[in-house]
Amino acid sequence: MHIPDGFVDAQVSLAFGAVAVGGVALCLRGARNELDERTAPMAGLTAAFIFAVQALNFPVAAGTSGHLLGGALAAILVGPWTGALCVTVVLMVQGLFFADGGLSALGLNVTNMALTTALVGWLTFRAVRFVAPRTKAGVVAASFVAALLSVPAAALMFVLEFALGGTADVSIGAVFTAMVGVHVLIGLGEAFITAFTVASVLAVRPDLVYGARDLIPALQIRTAAPRQEAR
């Protein structure tokens, strides 16, 4: 979903550049409370993993592919502020070194794929966890729904940006319908990848999943119980 140069005019690109700078500044402040000596390397790993999986385009419809955006996944693994920073790093590396995503559109892309996905993903994750059982399965289910919604949310942000500063004289309604339609499908792929990844980390190191920290005390009590006496 990387916007190239030339889709959105200079003023709107610049305005969203300011949105992105402000958002990243907020993230840098918020991330301080999520990060310590142990979680900072996890954030590096999250950025590296998202870069790798973004290169794995999967087919979604005739002649169309999609790839993970990763904002919801990052928010669940390392926290929403840090997660948005991880995706921002990925987008900057892609734009600067891989010619993927226009440099004039970097603010648009950070707003859509880092800030929007982490925000919508995290809020959805929290909402689903509020009603889901407090188990690993509940965390995985919440991850699925969070990722599923984060992708159409990012697509809607593009439609908004294009409506404000689109360079081509095309119907916004048609762009809206096409963008939301295909990104609901891509969101399904995002949901499966995110749920699988969160489930995998939960299986080996549940303590390293930021969004599942509340499960840890219960787990520790269970493992601390001496097995032989219990049988």
Binding site: P4, E37, F49, A52, N57, V89, L208
Partner: protein, 111 residues
């Protein structure tokens, strides 16, 4: 601490394998946004300011074998993201949060 380092290294290995090897088999069709833009007739810019980069377009310049070319490019991107992401978050992390464990870390040489 050491177990966390083991997890991070194992995860990095998974990312390198996905990016370096599996990515060759990824779909090369345009993604959702590019497909919509093409269908609706939204013209983008012809070139990119970073086209001169040695890994522009996820292909390594000077490497003819397509599998190797993409593998090297994506692998290098994975490592750069790990380094930049880790360095950025390390620099804003909470200091003296785990003052009880810090001396132990320094003594054992673990992170």
């Amino acid at each position: 601490m050491t177990r966390t380092r083991g997890f991070v290294l194992a995860g990095l290995l998974v990312a390198l394998l996905l990016g370096g090897i599996v990515s060759y088999y990824a779909s090369t069709q345009p993604d959702g946004l590019n497909k919509v833009a093409a269908d609706q007739g939204i013209p983008g810019a012809a070139g990119h300011a970073s086209d001169g980069s040695p890994v522009a377009g996820y292909a390594t310049k000077g490497v003819d074998d397509r599998r190797l070319s993409k593998g090297i490019a994506v692998t290098s991107g994975v490592l750069v993201c790990f380094a930049l992401g880790g360095a950025l978050t390390w620099s804003v992390r909470r200091r003296n949060a785990g003052s009880a464990e810090s001396p132990t870390d320094a003594a054992t040489g673990a992170r």
